[in-house]
Amino acid sequence: MGKYLLRRILQMIPVVLGTTLLVYALVFALPGDPVKAMFGDKPVNEAVAAQIRAEYNLDKPFIVQYFLFLKNALTLNFGETFAGQPVIAEIGRAFPVTIKLALMAFCFEAIFGCVFGVISGLKKGKWYDSVILIVSLLLISVPTFVTGFVGQYFLGVKWRILPVTAGANPGFFDLLMPAMVLGSVSMAYIIRLARSEVSSNIALDYVRTARAKGMSNTSVTFRHILRNSMIPVVTYLGQDLGALMGGAMITEQIFNIHGIGFLTYQSILKGEANMVVSVVTLLTLVFVVCNLLVDMLYAALDPRIRYA
């Protein structure tokens, strides 16, 4: 177990290094000159532009820029944005907000997704099964920004039940609607996943055997059916936590949440390689850790899976 963990952690090193190189190269390859763009429509003063290029090492060849970035990153200095803000401070402001939002969305989709999915799977064909199915189909087919705008208009502007936007330093209620919007599509997928798993497991031999041995209904449901149905759901959730952190841009924009998604988008537009690489590396780490957690959970859920 320990060895396995160590191996997995060591594997992260090449993954992270590879990501930084790849992303740095991609930002470098973006068309357009970030320094010229700083002047907008106005004439570019070449003497000033040269000063700025030198300050951000933009006048050096790609590979030199990359190694300078790496060298500084090793001392935890991730450079500065073009506005003169330390990259690490910007991420430090944005990341906690994204974590809050992603975890709330995660809890929302995990709890409601599993509960409705399992109910639906156990009581296949009942009227509430049909209702759950139709609602989940609706959520899957409607894009997030539609759910977002509709929710914002009715719950926020019209009826004033929930805050319209989250703003900076958002609290639980500020993020409630964004989290539900963000988690809604995944919740619908989990409902469908859980439902099909439960309904197929229910008909399997081991369930029949358990019942034949006289096990109580609750016991069969929780200890056998649910436990075996959860593996694909956990896989999905694990992947999704990473996706929620990196992919919340649309939700962040609708509800004015100053998180990682928006920060990345802005930095890409401005061509701030330092920021983009730092954020993407962080997200890579999140993904890798989430995957590791999922693999660990497999072992807890399925006795046949062992890591050595």
């Binding site: 357009g32 763009a37 002047f39 004015n256 859920l301």
Partner: protein, 543 residues
């Protein structure tokens, strides 16, 4: 046993993260400030809050409230003395003597002196200091010396001489009659002595002499300004402060105005342009502003030259094939105004009735006639492409223009959207675009000179300015020179009109429409109006 432990640990982790994630307190973000504090929409400033390094609206809006310049512009774009008592030109407008009023102070208590201006201007002009507005000082004598290699950063502009504490003179490289207007631009703000000790710290917490002072700047969240009790200007702010809330998206801000969580925003999202004037939950503002939208065809493009009869006929035909009124009402939902000149309605000297103004009015049959005349001179059956940046919402306009041109002239036309503004501007500045491309101008100071010189003088061509089509016309240059030396404003305006009449005939760029000054305020906000810069007059608003 081991498995269970892992499951428990995993569960505990999730729960812990959940609790810490949900632990924040609500409410804080939606507080709309105190009783008489106006909350306003803004984007995060892209540079430190140093006047000479601020060249975009996120920082510009804040800077204008923090600093008072020699002059200020009133809501109509007329120039009024502010810190300056007088700005007197010599005969040919090559030297100015500036006298300051008494009693002006920075918020750190130090007085505003002649040196506060001269040192600040030299600092910005000096290339070593990498200030983005440095080229604003190019008309001052000695500017070129400050663009060389090997500077230390504290060299001063040769043309600035301090006479005494309250007086300085400015020598210009060439006549410039609009100099007294230019100095109202934010980059010409005075700076206190403390700035030079630590420009970086200053950029985080600037010290100015304006209507407001900076209370705090929470990055990506808010910028809190409070009234400056020592402000010496004639018109004092009517509220106690302005808090700029940073938004990532205009739609989110609009929803907040509707819900009463935000007092004012200086733009209307595209999704609301149809409805915002009828929406009873907000106050709307929508009037012609100072931003002009044009497209430029390179002056030396084959068959489209600005200095040949054929090229001029084609340009005139193209221009008359475009129905601007229809674009404004159908595509822009009325938040624009059809162009009638090369400046804008909010600028002193704007006119609707210039000679050759007919070329900006839709007239398909006349357009076709002119086009056939051009074809008789020399055949051209290429495709006219319209390039623009696709990230700025220009696509519907150019789709409509292409359709009008195809229908009315029967020629081949197509759009060429480029993904980002950055990529687009790069192609423009490297002169890589073959065909028409989007251009526009947002003025820095309210004068026709700012439009005409920067965009159409040959000295602004070839990458030395914003004459992106490299239009060169000796007559235009000559008239602009005369205007620059004319110290009387009606004489100046007359000369600018003459320039525009030439431009209307040769059409180096084809004006389409003026972006309206449009904005919304929450119900209950009093005194909501917008100025010549399409900005709300923050200091006049109360709750």
């Amino acid at each position: 046993m081991k498995k269970k432990a892992i499951a428990v640990v995993a569960g505990a982790c999730t729960l812990g993260m959940l609790l810490s994630g949900c632990g924040g307190s609500g409410g804080d973000s939606n507080a709309s400030g105190g009783a008489n504090v106006i909350t306003a929409f803004n984007s995060e400033p892209q540079n430190a809050l140093i006047p000479g390094d601020t060249n975009e609206t996120g920082g510009g809006k804040v800077g204008q409230l923090l600093f008072a310049n020699l002059v200020r512009y009133d809501s109509k774009g007329d120039t009024k003395m502010e810190v300056a008592d007088s700005i007197e030109p010599n005969k040919d407008a090559t030297q100015y003597t500036v006298k300051l009023k008494d009693g002006w102070k920075f918020t750190d208590g130090t007085p505003v002196t002649a040196e506060s201006f001269t040192k600040s201007w030299s600092y910005t002009a000096n290339a070593k200091n990498a200030q983005k507005c440095s080229s604003f000082f190019s008309m001052i004598k000695g500017y070129d010396d400050l663009q060389k290699d090997g500077l230390k950063g504290d060299e001063q502009l040769e043309g600035l001489k301090v006479v005494d504490d309250k007086t300085f003179t400015v020598d210009l490289a060439q006549p410039d009659s609009v100099f007294p207007i230019k100095v109202g631009y934010l980059a010409f703000a005075p700076l206190p002595e403390s700035f030079y000790k630590d420009p970086k710290a200053f950029g985080e917490k600037p010290v100015g002499n304006g209507m407001y002072k900076l209370d705090k700047w929470d990055h990506n969240s808010q910028i809190v300004l409070t009234k400056n009790a020592d402000y010496k200007g004639e018109e004092k702010p009517k509220n106690d402060g302005v808090t700029f809330k940073i938004y990532t998206d205009v739609d989110a801000a609009y929803a907040d105005v509707q819900a009463g969580n935000l007092d004012v925003m200086d733009t209307v999202p595209a999704s609301a342009t149809k409805t915002f004037e009828k929406d009873s939950s907000i106050e709307a503002y929508n009037k012609a502003g100072s931003v002009i939208q044009t497209f430029t065809i390179p002056a030396n493009m084959k068959h489209w030259e600005t200095n040949t009869e054929e090229g001029q006929l084609r340009r005139q035909a193209l221009s008359m094939a475009i129905d601007r009124e229809q674009l404004v009402t159908k595509v822009l939902n009325g938040v624009g105004t059809a162009a009638t000149d090369f400046t804008a309605p909010a600028i002193p000297g704007y006119s609707k009735d210039l000679k050759n103004g007919k070329y900006l009015k839709a007239n398909p049959s006349e357009a076709k006639k002119l086009w056939d005349q051009a074809e008789a001179i020399s055949k051209w059956d290429g495709t006219l492409t319209f390039s623009f940046n696709a990230d700025g919402g220009a696509k519907p306009i150019y789709d409509a223009i292409v359709n009008q041109v195809k229908n009315n002239l029967g020629i081949k036309a197509a759009t060429n959207p480029m993904p980002t503004f950055q990529e687009f501007r790069n192609a423009v500045s490297e002169r890589k675009i073959d065909g028409a491309f989007r251009t526009g101008w947002q003025p820095d100071y309210p004068s026709a000179e700012n439009y005409l010189y920067q965009l159409y003088d040959s000295r602004a061509a070839d990458g030395n300015g914003s004459n992106d089509g490299d239009y060169k016309n000796a007559e235009v240059d000559e008239l602009l020179n005369k205007a620059a030396a004319a110290t009387k404003s009606d004489k100046q305006i007359d000369l600018y009109h003459q320039v525009e009449e030439i431009l209307l005939e040769q059409l180096p760029a084809i004006p389409i429409y003026y972006t309206n000054a449009d904005g919304v305020a929450a119900k209950g906000v009093k005194g909501f109006e917008m100025d010549w810069q399409n900005q709300p007059i923050y200091e006049n608003m109360t709750k």
